[in-house]
Symmetry: C2
C-alpha cells in the first residue's frame, strides 16, 4: 500500500514541526495497526513527530522494524489502558494513567499538538472534555465526520456526543461544521442544512425551528440552506449537515450499513453466474476506482469539535490506512488553525447575538 | 411488465370478495398511474373490486381501455382533490369532498375494506385519524414500511407520523410492528429491536430505557431483542425496528438515498471504460436480478398502523408497479385480519400491563 490513496483535503500549510500524541493501545488491532498507520502518515507528513503512549514492550520492537518512523518517535510507557467495555465515568475515575488519558494530557501540557485514538469513544470524549475543556463560546463539543455523496463529501455533526441538544447547541455545531468544511474540505462558502423530516419551515420540533430562526438571522461562515431531509445527506444537497447526536449517530450508522449491504449485494451478483464472473473481470479496473471512492477508510476519523485542543477518534476496527487518514485529519486541523478560526468566527458573531445564546 | 415481480408475502387466505377504495388523483402521475396499478394488482388478486375516487372525465376513458379492470370497478366522481403542498390542518377543513377524503370515508362507511392513496402523506394521516379513529388500546397510529436487509426484509416504524413519542407509544408500535411482521412478512416469531445509539442497556434517553423496561417485562407477539443501532437495520439483525417518527423518517430517507447513491456510483463505474461496458453486458443478467432485489418499488407503501381501518400510503412518485404493490399490502392486511389480530394481542397483554400504560 502506498500513500497515494491518502485523503488530501485542505491545502495544508504545514511548515513547522508538529507533534501527534497517539494512543497506541486503542482499537481492535492494537499497537501494530497504530504504528503501521503512523508510518503511512509519515509518507505524507514527513515533518510530523509522534509520541506513542502504551506498553513499551510491545511498541519498541515494532518501531525497531520501521527506522524512518523510529527516528521521529518517542515512546511514553504505561501499563494501563482503557478497555472498549468500560463506561466513560469509570474510565474517568480509573484511567488516569491509561495510554488514552496520557495522550490527551500531552496535548493539554503542550507536549503534543493533537491526539488520535482508536479506543473507546465515550471514554475519549469524557476525558477530552475534562482535560482539554470546551472552547470559550461553545457549550458542548460535537463529533463530526465526512460522508460520501453524489457531489463529493458532506460533513455531518453531531454524531453521538450529545443525545439531546438545544437550539444554541445546534447553532454552535453549525458554526463549527462550516469552519470545518472550509478548513478540511476546502469549501470557501459552505452551505449548512439542519436535518429535519421535511424542508418546510414549520416541520420538526420547537428546538429545530428555533435553531433555524437563529441561523437565518446571524452572519455565518457560509450560508444557511434551511432544513434538509435524510435523502439530502447522500445527495450532497449541503456541505454541512447539523443534527443532534442521537439522530446523527443513527444516520451515520444506517449510511455505513447501507454501504456494506450494497457491497454484499454486488459481490453476490458477480458470483451468481459464470458470465457475471467474466463481466466482473472485465470491469475490475473500474471497480477498483469505485472501491477507492466509497472506501470507508477514507471517511475514517470522528473529529471532536469544540475542545481547546485537537482530538480525533479513529474507528476501532480500522486498519493502518484508515488510521493514517485519521492522523491526517488531526494534522490538517492543527496546521489550518481550526480552533483559532472558530474563536474568530464566534467573536465576529458575538455582536449580532444576544449573550445568553452564544456567549464569548 | 407482468405481475411476476409483485411482492407475495403472507399466505393470503383471500376467498371472499374485497373492495379497495383508491384515491385516483393522488401521486405525481395521477389517474393514469393509479388505474394502471390497479390493473396490475388485478392479475394477482382477480377477486378484488375497486372504487376510484376522482375526476370521472379523466378516469372513465382510462377504464374503457382496460376492460377486465373496468368490470371490477366503479367510479365515484369528485372535482376536489388534496394538493401535495396543502397543510394537513387545511386539508381537513377544505378537503371534505376531495378524492382522498371520500376514499377514506368509504372505508368508514363499510363500502370499502381498505384505502390506498399516493397523495399528501400528512393530509392522508390527519384525515384517516379523524375519520377511521385509532384502535382501542392504541394512543397514536404509526407509519410502517419495509427495508431491504442482508437477511431479507425488516419492518420499521414509526416513519414520520409522530415526531415525539413516549415509552407507551413505542411499546404499542412494537406490538403492531410484530403483528405486521407475522401477517405480511410471514415471520412466526418476529424479533423486535428498539433503535438507539448503542446496544447497552444504559444508552439513549429516559423514554427509550423506559420502553425497553416495559418490552422486557410483557408477553409480546415475538421476542424483544433489546436496543439496536443504525447499522443493525440494513444488517437485518431484527425483524422489527421500533423508533420515533423523527428518527425513523430520517433513517428511511438516508437508507433510500444511499441506495440511489450506490446505484449512481455503479452506473458511472460501468460507463467509465470500454472494458467496463463490456463487463456490464456480460453481467447484465445478474444485474437484472440485483435491480429486482433492491427495486424501491418493491418496498413501496407506508402502512398506517393503529387505525380502525386499513390505510396504505404509496410513494407519490411511484409507477404502476409500485402502486400495485401498495394495493397488495393493503389487501394482505385486510385478508389476514391485521386489525383483529392487534386487538387480540392487546387483550392478551392487558392483564400483564397496568391500565395506564396500555389501556384496552
Amino acid at each position: 500500500m502506498t500513500s497515494s490513496g491518502l485523503r488530501v483535503k485542505g491545502k495544508s500549510s504545514l511548515n513547522a514541526t508538529l507533534t501527534v500524541a497517539l494512543d497506541a493501545m486503542g482499537g481492535d488491532h492494537g499497537p501494530e495497526m497504530v504504528i503501521a498507520g503512523a508510518d503511512l502518515a509519515r509518507l505524507r507528513y514527513p515533518q510530523v513527530r509522534y509520541i506513542f503512549f502504551g506498553d513499551e514492550a510491545r511498541i519498541a520492537p515494532l518501531l525497531q522494524r520501521r527506522k524512518a518512523l523510529h527516528a521521529l518517535a518517542v515512546v511514553h510507557h504505561t501499563d494501563s489502558l482503557v478497555s472498549n467495555e468500560i463506561k466513560p465515568s469509570a474510565a474517568l475515575r480509573s484511567g488516569r494513567q491509561s495510554s488514552m488519558r496520557l495522550a490527551i494530557d500531552a496535548v493539554a501540557a503542550g507536549q503534543a499538538d493533537c491526539v488520535v485514538s482508536a479506543g473507546n469513544t465515550g471514554a475519549l470524549m469524557a476525558m477530552a472534555k475534562i482535560v482539554l475543556k470546551t472552547l470559550p463560546g461553545i457549550d458542548r463539543p460535537a463529533i463530526a465526520s465526512f460522508l460520501p455523496t453524489s457531489r463529493g463529501e458532506t460533513v455531518m455533526l453531531d454524531l453521538g456526543a450529545n443525545i439531546e441538544c438545544d437550539a444554541d447547541n445546534l447553532v454552535q455545531f453549525a458554526v463549527m461544521g462550516a469552519i470545518f468544511a472550509r478548513t478540511v474540505l476546502g469549501v470557501p462558502e459552505p452551505t449548512i442544512g439542519l436535518l429535519n423530516v421535511g424542508a418546510e419551515q414549520l416541520k420538526g420540533n420547537e428546538t429545530l425551528r428555533s435553531a433555524a430562526d437563529i441561523l437565518r438571522s446571524i452572519p455565518l461562515p457560509g450560508s444557511f440552506h434551511g432544513f434538509v431531509e435524510g435523502n439530502d445527506v447522500p445527495a450532497g444537497t449541503v456541505d454541512v449537515v447539523v443534527t443532534d447526536g442521537f439522530t446523527g449517530n443513527v444516520a451515520l450508522k444506517i449510511a455505513e450499513g447501507m454501504g456494506k449491504l450494497y457491497s454484499g449485494f454486488l459481490q453476490s451478483t458477480f458470483r451468481s453466474s459464470v458470465m457475471a464472473r467474466f463481466g466482473f473481470l472485465m470491469a475490475s479496473g473500474a471497480f477498483r476506482k469505485l472501491r477507492a471512492r466509497v472506501d470507508p477508510r477514507r471517511y475514517n476519523g470522528g473529529m471532536f469539535l469544540g475542545l481547546s485542543g485537537v482530538c480525533v477518534k479513529s474507528h476501532g476496527g480500522t486498519d493502518a490506512f484508515g488510521f493514517a487518514n485519521a492522523i491526517g485529519v488531526a494534522v490538517d486541523l492543527v496546521a489550518e488553525g481550526f480552533n483559532d478560526r472558530i474563536q474568530e468566527e464566534l467573536k465576529r458573531l458575538a455582536p449580532a447575538q444576544p449573550p445568553a445564546t452564544l456567549a464569548v
